[in-house]
């Protein structure tokens, strides 16, 4: 048991943050014999699966399987910094948990209130950092976790995924206490985490490739979640994760979004780990997969080779064909293809007779799938629990916070037209010309031209128009007028029968009576228009000539067109759209374009009063400003500009500060002093 390295700094000791707690922080009760291999904390989790649960991660540090957590941050070089490249250290072999206790120095560095709760994200911020190489950037924190620690950190996270819903309450109380103790900070951290996820979503919608995403995740992580104290980072991550669960468990859509973002986050966190760590993790989860036997390998060798050759992209950093090929050989795992949907979808794996043969460096996918399905179940459970009992029980404490977060953080969904309450059919052409983003303008023109749109186009345009303020009656009249011009195809009777229904359906007047929300840029960018379809994001789905032609038709100058095309080529579709907005409206659009209806309302604002720009920023706008700044900042840094720390500071003070304050004010009511 290699005792954790020289941990100079006190902070590393995340695990045993039990300052006041029992002097004997460690493992409260020696792990039951049942699971000798696991960390004490794990055992506890298994029974009472809740992370935040006090008992399990008793302030008595048992929980924190992080004995070997090293922090390095350049800033105030604490003692720990001495060993910045903790990595070597980090790689200690996993130690039986029982040992953990011994390692804890008696002193408890971390502030009392922090509980070491769930650890899952810790690894990310930790190891990830140093791999990516943030050389030279000050202010960054590198937490280096030894393998065993990383594995242990992740393990309870999985295991404890709210398998047992009855424990939820405890979690809540627990997290609540934290929130109460440091309400302001508490709220801020949720914000940050939420923004972190949004940043990821943003990156995705820009069509970033995996390598870029990896960097993005790392940078965002540091931007949003950083804190000089690694223990707090872990803690923050844990708490915010669970609070966000509450926020995002409400509806199917929210769950879906949260699920995919958290899964992405998880994946990148895991990716930052070394293969050995990943493998160790897998072993700990006891995933029932085995390496393919030699005979099996022999029979699928040819296929494996072809798959390896078909990787245009290097696989986990190995770039020559030969190496990729070799990397199958140590031990390709044979798993049911259902377990690795993303590898299947991407054609990145060889499948034979229902089994996928995956390279060792693809196991991340396997674990992430597991994570996703656990989290998915937990979210549904959380929602059920929340609505049935907890909301009521927590009505004086957590509920207001969750609700405030719900309303302020999800961003506007544009389901209700806001400022410009109504538009009428007669104005629609003018409005389309002035204020529609390219995607909608294109659909609109195609509709006028062909008097028909296929389903995807009808949905995208129809919901957008609803968000813009077209009332149901007008919408029916509008679509009918168009469709019935194509008499051979759509007689008026036919329209009433088939299309009217779905229009009313969109307005929540039929069927399930859900008031559907207009599509966001992300939805549109990730849609897949097929033959005969005109929907989708022009910047993403059109060929270059067609984008050019469309822009030219709108009278955009050649120069601006080139700028837009430049963004398109770099797959920054939303930035392309933003530039187009700026070119058309002659003003800058700081927030960037995230939603066609936002484009519309921003454009209308510009038109209505060029002079009176929004006097008092509201939260939505702040949010947009915030994310766009963050993204710009990250883009900027990724390009390797030297002046990063300056701009970061500036960004932080100018933007983050106000934003956070507003947010907290809104969340907690005016009574809060900041």
């Amino acid at each position: 048991m290699p005792p954790p390295i020289p941990h100079a700094s006190p902070q590393p000791e995340v695990p045993s943050p039990i300052p006041y707690a029992s002097p004997q922080p460690e493992v409260p009760s020696p792990s039951p014999p049942l699971q000798p291999n696991f960390d004490v904390s794990i055992d506890q989790n298994v029974t009472p699966p809740i992370l935040l649960e006090t008992p399990s991660y008793p302030p008595t540090g048992s929980t924190a399987p992080t004995p070997d957590l090293y922090i390095e941050h350049d800033y105030p070089p604490t003692a720990s910094s001495s060993d910045p490249l903790g990595p070597p250290v980090g790689i200690d072999t996993p130690q039986p948990h029982t040992d953990v206790p011994d390692e804890h120095p008696p002193h408890q560095p971390s502030p009392p209130r922090d509980r070491p709760q769930r650890t899952r994200k810790a690894p990310t911020c930790g190891t990830g950092g140093h791999k990516i190489g943030h050389r030279g950037s000050s202010m960054e924190i590198t937490v280096v976790l030894p393998i065993s620690a990383a594995a242990k950190l992740l393990f309870p996270f999985f295991r404890t995924k709210l398998q047992n819903a009855t424990k939820l309450k405890k979690i809540l109380q627990d997290s609540k206490e934290t929130v109460v103790e440091s309400d302001v900070r508490g709220c801020l951290q949720f914000t940050n985490c939420s923004n972190f996820l949004k940043g990821i979503a943003n990156g995705l919608s820009r069509g970033k490739k995996s390598e870029e995403m990896k960097n993005l995740a790392d940078h965002l992580w540091k931007a949003k979640m950083r804190h000089p104290d690694a223990f707090k980072v872990v803690n923050k991550d844990i708490i915010s994760h669970f609070v966000l669960r509450l926020v995002y468990c409400k509806t199917e859509d929210l769950r879906k979004w949260f699920l995919s973002m958290e899964t992405i986050l998880f994946r990148y966190q895991l990716l930052f780990e070394r293969p050995e760590t990943q493998r160790a993790l897998m072993a700990e989860f006891n995933l029932p997969y085995r390496a393919a036997s030699n005979a099996e390998l022999e029979s699928v060798k040819e296929g494996l080779k072809q798959v390896a050759q078909s990787f245009g992209q290097p696989l986990a950093g190995i770039d020559t064909e030969c190496n990729i090929y070799l990397c199958f050989f140590p031990t390709p795992m044979k798993v049911p293809f259902e377990e690795v949907p993303e590898l299947v979808a991407g054609g990145r794996v060889f499948i034979h007779k229902g089994y996928a043969y995956i390279a060792m460096n693809q196991v991340v996918s396997l674990v992430a799938t597991q994570f996703r399905s656990d989290l998915s179940k937990a979210l549904i459970l959380t929602n059920r629990k929340w609505t049935s009992t907890i909301r009521e029980q927590e009505k004086d404490r957590l509920t207001p916070i969750v609700q405030a977060l719900c309303s302020s953080y999800l961003g506007p969904d544009h389901s209700q037209p806001r400022e410009f309450a109504e538009i009428s059919i007669k104005d629609i052409d003018q409005i389309a010309k002035n204020s529609f983003p390219l995607c909608m303008r294109h659909l609109f023109e195609k509709l006028r031209e062909d008097h028909h749109l296929k389903h995807g186009g009808r949905m995208q345009l129809g919901l957008f128009l609803k968000g813009v303020g077209l009332k149901l009656e007008d919408a029916l009249a509008f679509w009918k007028a168009e469709f019935s011009q194509r008499i051979s195809m759509v007689g008026s009777e036919r329209f009433d029968k088939e299309y009217a229904y779905s229009i009313r359906h969109n307005y929540g007047r039929e069927g399930k009576r859900t008031d559907y929300t207009p599509y966001s840029c992300q939805t549109i960018i990730t849609s897949a228009p097929g033959v005969g379809d005109h929907h989708g994001c022009p910047y993403r789905h059109f060929s270059e000539e067609n984008v050019r032609a469309a822009l030219g038709k709108m009278g955009i100058t050649n120069r601006a067109v080139e700028d837009v095309m430049d963004k398109v080529r770099n797959i920054h579709y939303q930035l392309a759209c933003t530039l187009k907005f700026e070119a058309v409206n002659g003003t800058s659009c700081d927030a960037g374009i995230n939603h066609p209806n936002q484009y519309f309302s921003d454009s209308q604002k510009v038109l209505q009063s060029k002079n009176t720009r929004m006097e008092k920023p509201n939260l939505d706008e702040l949010y947009h400003v915030f994310t766009s700044h963050a993204i710009k900042f990250i883009d900027y840094r990724m390009m390797g500009d030297g002046s990063k720390s300056e701009s970061w500071k500036e960004f932080k003070t100018s933007c983050l500060g106000n934003f956070a304050k507003n947010l907290v004010r809104k969340s907690l009511g005016q009574g809060v002093r900041l």
Partner: protein, 457 residues
């Protein structure tokens, strides 16, 4: 069924809206002289294989084995489209006779099959009141829907809802690409291909594993098959980025190439006119090559090359120049494959496959526009399938009339539908039920074993 239920019907509807929409295009040609409710009544009364559908959808849970789940069939959603487009969703039946009686009574123009839910879909409202969201789909065959209208940019013989033997080749190719992949790659065994009644094919994958796939897993399979990514506003429909093809695509390419060169080239006359070959030249991102080819072909126009060979010859030119290896731009070699994929690779309706709660028309329905029966297609002999020779409702009725009075039970056997029903039973249903029984038996034994061992504790 109350009015409200009817409305609710379309509630979470994942019904194929495209189907409805494309309906617009059905020019007048399709309606056979004789599709009407009365004919349909006779069909449901004498020919429709109710019992086979019931056996299939029960998957061995027929109450005969102590290990079977008797509620299984009753949790399956059926939905009926009645005359006048009245749509009844969430129908469920507890027995073969209930199913049969309801079909005979309502005489639906179309029967769709939905998922098996966690609870009886007809009683979903009662469960909804308990507050917990227990009404959720739990099983559904993995289905694929391939529709000829999605190929309109690569077929010149017909368009929209029309099909002929020339373009039907595209469906044959689709079966020949998808079917082996489902079997060899994904390891599925119980696969049913069905003619959709007008211009496409449906595929039902019925292995237990397939029925239990999550939406995400379904998506991943659909994505695995998705190569074609074009839309109206981009020229390049297929993009093969990597340097080598994935083994599945490599295998598929052999099929595609054979049909493309041996059939589509000349049957669709892909290079016969300037407009057509320009479409192909657009896919080659190298000006010098395209102008060289263009020049060659324009000169050739008046020369004596026979019409039949013109497509084949010009394709040879393309191949020769692209594969010669002289070009500087890397990736040009891929162009040949890209062209072949663009013109022949199956185009799946992704949404149908991705979601468990998407409904799909039941086999052996009659397509109301063509009057044709949705008969199974033998994937091993799909080249021989001729959509224009599929029995129609009126033809079947004629055959019944000619047959005179027979025993009611197997009247179908004497009509041209007999062949299809026999094929359905012998190639699909029997092997399926056999393996279902085995599965039930095994899990039952395992359970017994388990309870025994736990008793000894």
């Amino acid at each position: 069924m109350t009015k409200e239920e009817i409305e609710n019907g379309t509630a979470d509807m994942e019904i194929d809206q495209r189907e409805l929409m494309n309906g617009d295009r059905s020019e007048l040609n399709a309606v056979p002289d004789g599709f009407n409710a009365n004919y349909l009544k006779v069909y449901y009364g004498k020919l429709f294989p109710h019992a086979d559908i019931f056996k299939w959808m029960s998957y061995g849970n027929d109450g005969k084995h102590p290990g079977c789940d008797e509620s299984y069939f009753g949790r399956r959603e059926f939905s009926f489209t009645l005359d006048n487009d009245i749509y009844l969703r969430f129908q469920s039946f507890n027995s073969a006779s209930q199913l049969e009686n309801s079909i005979k009574e309502k005489c639906p123009f179309k029967i769709d099959i939905g998922p098996v839910y966690s609870v009886d879909p007809a009683k979903r409202h009662a469960y909804a009141q308990s507050g917990n969201n227990v009404f959720t789909p739990v099983e559904k065959e993995l289905v694929f829907d391939i529709d000829m209208t999605d190929y309109d940019d690569v077929r010149y013989c017909c368009s929209g809802a029309d099909v002929c033997l020339k373009c039907w080749t595209l469906m044959t190719i689709a079966i020949k690409v998808i079917d082996p992949a489902l079997r060899d790659d994904f390891g599925f065994n119980h696969i049913l291909w069905v003619y959709s009644g007008r211009r496409g094919v449906h595929c039902w994958v019925c292995d237990p594993k397939a029925r239990r796939l999550t939406n995400e897993q379904r998506s991943s399979i659909a994505e695995y098959f998705r190569v074609y990514k074009g839309n109206e506003n981009s020229q390049k429909k297929v993009s093969l980025t990597s340097s080598a093809l994935h083994p599945f695509l490599l295998r598929s390419y052999k099929v595609l190439e054979e049909f493309f060169e041996g059939n589509l080239l000349s049957n669709q006359s892909l290079f016969s006119t300037e407009e057509r070959y320009e479409k192909i030249l657009e896919m080659i991102p190298d000006e010098s090559i395209t102008s060289e080819l263009r020049g060659k072909w324009q000169d050739n126009k008046k020369s004596s090359i026979s019409k039949e060979n013109i497509n084949v010859d010009r394709w040879k030119h393309v191949k020769k120049i692209l594969k010669s290896g002289k070009q500087k731009a890397p990736g040009l070699g891929k162009c040949v494959e890209e062209i072949v994929f663009s013109f022949s690779y199956p185009r799946l309706d992704m949404e149908v496959s991705k979601h468990m709660n998407h409904l799909l028309k039941a086999p052996f329905c009659i397509h109301p526009k063509t009057g044709r029966v949705c008969v199974p297609i033998d994937p091993n002999r799909c080249e021989e399938f001729d959509p224009t020779a599929v029995p129609t409702l009126s033809k079947l009725l004629e055959e019944i009339n000619m047959g005179g009075l027979g025993t009611d039970d197997d009247e179908w056997d004497r009509t041209s539908l007999g062949k299809s029903i026999r094929f359905f039973r012998s190639s699909f249903l029997q092997p399926l039920l056999k393996s279902c029984k085995e599965e039930i038996e095994n899990s039952y034994n395992a359970k017994l074993q388990h309870s025994k061992t736990s008793l000894t504790w």
